[in-house]
Symmetry: C2
Subunit: 350 residues, 2 copies
């Protein structure tokens, strides 16, 4: 893989990569309820979302050092020819800690995240986490992140400060995000609380529930007019935007059919979906084509989901190459779009 990458003189930037710094792991270990980490004599197990563990409430997914060890992250990147990774906390972010102590912890964690760039000679750069005690705290953190060297945006689940994206109280937060044009990486968190997603070793939660959760959250963002009120928002959505690229036409038709009931959105939903940035983490060509057709070559970025990867990075890299070849468009998706979107330093690293 690395040989091929060098031939192309296209660097690979992974914009979807998670890290769980030690102090954050310890916070989760102190919890008795899901989401939490169980530490059995140094062996950690991860319990992220309620539905996942309903049949075995005392058992989690084993966690190895790939979740917290920077050396492991770099080794993964070297193995798969990834030059740089934009890393962020994963689920559940600071959502289980909506108080002053949690907000303080967020400050410490952001300090750690901001330090990776210099300690790894630029191989890793961080996205900050948002405090969850109140909207004001989240909004203030936007400015702080903007002023922090080594942080290039924020990462969040589908809830900010305990509120859905269309809650008018979040306007204070969106205003700050739009003012500073801070990139926001939106990622699913809990799958969906549906009995119909049970069984199959949680396959349905992972394969369907997560993208559906994302889809609903972003739809609320769009339909409530957040992107109309704050047109300079810079948003990138995980896992190719959930199911949004497939449902955008249906959303438009429902929107048009319901204009009579008083819809305040000035344009059809898909016109806002097209303004989003998406990762190319969709694992096969039919889906990649849909997202490519929706948002275009400037709004897609390569990602891996490490260490949660459900497949080797090559599956998505080769999908992009198979569809678009190895030329300029490929280079945009693998490298240039991330540099532009996150404002990364544009230099050689390896």
């Amino acid at each position: 893989m690395r040989t091929e990458t060098k031939q192309l003189t296209t660097r690979t930037i992974d914009i979807h990569s998670h890290i769980y710094p030690e102090p954050y792991l310890e916070l989760l270990e102190r919890r008795q309820e899901i989401p939490r980490i169980i530490n059995r004599d140094g062996n950690r197990e991860f319990q992220i979302f309620m539905q996942e563990n309903s049949s075995q409430p005392t058992k989690g997914r084993p966690m190895g050092p790939e979740y917290w060890d920077i050396e492991e992250k770099i080794a993964f990147m070297d193995k798969f020819g990834i030059d740089r990774s934009v890393i962020s906390l994963g689920n559940p972010w600071m959502d289980p800690f909506p108080d002053a102590a949690g907000d303080e912890a967020a400050v410490s964690i952001n300090k750690i995240l901001s330090g990776y760039e210099s300690s790894t000679n630029g191989r890793l750069v961080g996205l900050g986490v948002l405090p969850t005690s109140c909207v004001e705290a989240a909004a203030e953190t936007v400015k702080t992140i903007t002023q922090t060297e080594g942080l290039y945006g924020a990462a969040t689940g589908p809830i900010i400060a305990g509120k859905q994206f269309d809650d008018p109280q979040l306007d204070l937060f969106w205003k700050e995000m739009a003012t500073y044009k801070l990139p926001l990486f939106i990622h699913p968190e809990n799958s969906l609380p549906l009995e119909t997603l049970g069984g199959y070793h949680q396959s349905l939660h992972f394969a369907l529930g997560f993208p559906m959760e994302t889809t609903i959250a972003i739809s609320r963002l769009v339909l409530s007019g957040v992107m109309v009120r704050f047109p300079t928002l810079k948003i990138i959505v995980a896992h190719g935007g959930g199911c949004l690229p497939y449902l955008g036409g249906r959303m438009d038709s429902v929107y048009r059919a319901q204009l009579t009931v008083g819809n305040s959105l000035p344009n059809p939903p898909s016109s806002y979906l097209r303004q989003l940035y998406l990762d190319a983490l969709v694992y096969y060509a039919p889906a990649f084509q849909a997202e490519y057709r929706l948002v275009g070559e400037e709004h897609l970025m390569f990602g891996t989901d490490h260490p949660f990867s459900i497949a080797e990075p090559e599956i998505n890299r080769s999908t992009i190459q198979g569809e678009l070849g190895n030329g300029e468009i490929y280079r945009k998706i693998m490298e240039r779009n991330a540099i532009n979107f996150f404002g990364l330093v544009d230099n050689e690293l390896r």
Copy 2:
């Protein structure tokens, strides 16, 4: 539109079209609970699914004669250049009537549905409805439908005889369907019972909840190995398969990542998704490309969702033409695939 159709000498067959015969409307009018029809002095209102009416439990969606009047159906078809429609009952089928009386009503309704072909000189052909008292009754009806002139398949929501598609008790039903190779049209019914789909005049239920419901149901069908055990099943899924064409790659990767936990499916999920037939009712090109790439030109069919249409049929016809032109592939999707799949008489009608 009709002129254009004639130029192309491509007929248009609509395989996704609903009808509510009078005796069925009366059954729903007798109900006090959702799903039901409220009849206020001859003005009918339709309450299909719980979530839809939670804020106004005594109010439904107005129903006009387009729901039951065959003349209206034909007028719609003439207006939009549709030569023939494969019509079926819509939600909630016989699901609210899981008893002997309901099974008897299903027989009467199927008689009505089977009569449309001769009474409309072939413009309309019917899909039968399944009784819901027990799996045996549903299974027996498969044979009956096969032997009934004027019926070309069955239509159902995501539950058959009160059971999810992966319930082993349904094998008796799938066996009959596979033996007779009877086409089955699968359609969403209730959206998803999620608070996060609330608001926006039910936009989220219609735009997202229905396709998500479909996606979960078909995923259970696939992951449980129904299509492995009964490889001759002939299934067409409504609304372009929900979100399946976008999530197939993710389903495959989750499947491969979980092989260690004992997954009994011999091939990745998308290999079964490719065996499905889908309607082209996705309302824009990015989604059409995804379904086209997934199932190919032989497994797509034109549909309108009349009288529930959220957009004029032209939006989907022009999407297909825009992507594929007016040639042989277009003709397959508009006409040939439906004739082959349902075994329709191949003649000129208008």
